[in-house]
Amino acid sequence: MATDEARKSVLHRLLRDPQAVITASILLATIALGLLANVLPQHGPNDVVFGNVNLPTGSPGYPFGANQLGQDIFARVLHSINTAWVSALIGASVALVVGTTFGLIGGYFTRLRSGVEWVFTVVMTLPGILLLILLMPLTGGDFRATMLIYGFLMSPGVYRIVRNQTIGVSKELYVDAAKVSGVTHTRILFRHILSVVRGPIIIATSFLTGTAIGVQAGLAFLGVGSAEIASFGGMISQGFRAINIDPMQFIWPSIFLGLITANIVLFGNALRDALEGSRPKPQKITATQTTEGFSAEVSGPADELAVLQVRDLGIAYKSPAGVLNEVVRGVNLTIRQGETIGLVGESGSGKTQTAFGILGVLPLEAKVTRGSVRIEGNECLGAPEPVLRALRGNTIAYVPQEPMSNLDPVYTIGSQLVEGIRAADGCTKPEARERAIELLGRVGIPNPQRVFKSYPHEISGGMAQRVLIAGAVASRPKILIADEPTTALDVTVQAEILDLLRELQEEMNMAIIMVTHNFGVVADICDRIAVMKQGQIVETGQIEELFANPSHEYTKMLLDSILDEDTIRTDPPVRQGANQ
């Protein structure tokens, strides 16, 4: 049912794409013409009438003229269309069946993989066209037998696609769950895996079709195969010989061959867009988008001691219907030097959006609807990007949740740190290098020299987070925003990272905004806490006070949900014979 729905929407998208509609109509029209090959022309494709040799286009009974043998070119073109589509059908379906079957086997059964892989690699090394010509005595020149063999030669392409997709899907937990449920391998392959790899296969098929037609025509052009069978390749070759007499003999088959192959490729592209969606554009960070007529306004007194003051901040996203939905709805937050505030909430509460809003790195679709963000008294909302960039490097820094995905795997850790340091204060390379190594040592990395030269995959998650913290504090920022900095880490590593942040804070007198869902982390490191729910801060206070006497219902509910350290399961196991 679900897949029906998905299929329906693919068809829907195809029907709305003019490229798909036009190319598909042209292709269908050629197929229809081919089916009428024995009806429309007044002559058979091989009928030789000597009186009609080299008739020009538009002659009565010979709309496209006649060739050197006096055969009807119109009839031969229509029959060539059939030859082309039959070639495509045979070649593509053999490639598809062989490639898909072995792709599933090679991808799913790891033990068989190397054997299957070897066979397909050998097939790939075979010189295709040459082999087909050499096998002429075996195929007897029948283009259908030739395309059957060519199907096998094309199958490695399909095999590769299906195998790679299958390996990916096999790692999904739902495949494991199906195995544990006792589902047989065949059923898993058909129900769970084939449905996912279907899309890429369909796309590959459309291109295989074009290739098969091209190869068949090429072989016929070279004179491989029976002259009895009308084929674009043969006709073009014949037309070449008569090019000085009548170029149209050569042009007619070329037009149709070109029309078919070009439309197949264009249709394939449209199909790819419909099935895979057009590629997402890379995210670009620009100055925060604001709604029209926005101006930062501050009501109430400015806090002189605050390094960061957020007033009535509103952030909205456009819904598909075009209505702005606020995900952050009037957040007020003030933070002073050296203070740590915990921004706590469940998923979807808007805590990360608030942090991004303060940093000025909201995605393009986000719009700031109201409020003000002041860093050391300077308004950030609506400020130009260069101003914000300078601010981000020097005054405000960020530590992300996933340390690994925030390091570029292609560059050494050292070069990434050096780049960041130089961008922030424009010092020379050797200076930046010295600073980076010093910082790595400062954040508790045992062998800074070695880690400086390492690539991200060579260090652990905890080390990677230390590296990112080193990068964040390189320019001694006034404010550090840490977005769930320890969530991806083990508890023992978490404790060390929190210790490190505490030490760095004392040393540099930074303000820290700790975005987290973990009340243990808040209790460990924060001075104050702000509880967020549905885009609003529902309660804020000093941690001792708030943990002891929460006033808002939501805070109470959250604190009650914490698994109490002191309770331990005491009820004994239910013994045998319990009802099922």
Partner: protein
């Protein structure tokens, strides 16, 4: 004494490496544990410790390279495909990630019916059972016709629990089933696990990195560190009075949601670490001179 449900003896798990004549990588280095009917064995450890691999070995998803696992006295360490399919009735699983553990293209109803259909249930009976299961895990009946993407993480995890319960298993391997959930959802899903256990007498192997979760649900606890179970005992013994230094460290590292208590815990942890550094720092110096090598590099 009755035979335990699961009896693992000197269980080793090693993954073969790709490439000619390369040594397999051993993840689990010989662990012993038992799970009795109706009880929860909590397995706690950090990432890469091998706790998930132990669970996967019971499920037949990881290769057993030494030792044995028996289920009700029968050796299942190298069960064949057909034996595994028969075991599916008794041993089930709930995975951590409720997003990738449900096929996005299959409705909840089909996902839940699949394990029943392969056990040879007829369609009408399976449909009735699916509705019963949805009710059991607190989901509305109309959920059966909907797709996973229409549900939140907590609801998806309920679906995964329903799927595990479908054939009426004796044991469910729960691999971090509440780690991806919000705090308030986590508590209700844990309570659901306990409630189901009380009603059906199913046993759990509950794998988690979170000691608070483990304490909440386990009767007995095993602590896994680098492929070994370093400490094992009743929940109270292990989590209130740990003997192994690693368990002690793990316990002190978990922050408690109480500012005063957490400050005390932090100081205790820092004191322990300094002590540890002094001892091992000293040993390392000795080791440099070729003495006490074995002691200075504990596993």
């Amino acid at each position: 004494m009755t035979t335990p449900l699961i009896d693992a003896r000197s269980l080793h798990v090693a993954y073969p490496q790709r490439g000619f004549r390369r040594q397999p990588i051993e993840i689990v280095h010989g662990v012993d544990f038992q799970i009795d009917a109706g009880e929860t064995l909590g397995i706690v450890g950090e990432s890469g410790s091998g706790k998930t691999t132990i669970g996967r070995a019971i499920l037949g998803l990881a290769p057993v390279s030494g030792g044995s696992i028996t289920f009700e006295g029968r050796d299942i360490s190298h069960a064949s495909g057909a034996q595994r399919r028969a075991l599916a009735k008794d041993i089930q699983v709930v995975f951590q990630d409720p997003y990738s553990s449900l096929n996005p293209a299959m409705t909840i109803g089909r996902t839940l019916a699949e394990p029943l259909m392969v056990q040879g249930w007829d369609k009408a009976k399976a449909t009735a059972r699916v509705l019963e299961l949805l009710d059991r895990v607190g989901l509305p009946k109309n959920a059966a016709a909907r797709l996973p993407r229409e549900f939140s993480g907590g609801q998806r995890q309920r679906v995964a629990i329903a799927r595990a319960l479908a054939p009426g298993p004796r044991l469910i391997i729960c691999d971090e089933p509440v780690s991806g959930l919000d705090l308030s959802t986590q508590a209700t899903v844990l309570d659901l696990f306990i409630e189901i256990q009380r009603d059906t007498g199913v046993a759990y192997m509950f794998i988690s990195h979170d000691l608070a979760v483990i304490r909440h649900i386990s009767h007995r606890v095993g602590v896994v560190f680098r492929g070994d179970i370093v400490e094992q005992g009743t929940c109270a013994e292990v989590t209130n009075n740990p003997q192994n230094p690693y368990t002690q460290r793990l316990l002190l590292a978990a922050p408690v949601a109480n500012p005063q208590a957490q400050r005390a815990r932090r100081l205790e942890r820092q004191r322990l670490r300094e002590e540890h550094e002094n001892i091992y720092g000293g040993l390392a110096k000795l080791a440099e001179r070729g003495i006490a090598k074995a002691v200075a590099h504990p596993r």
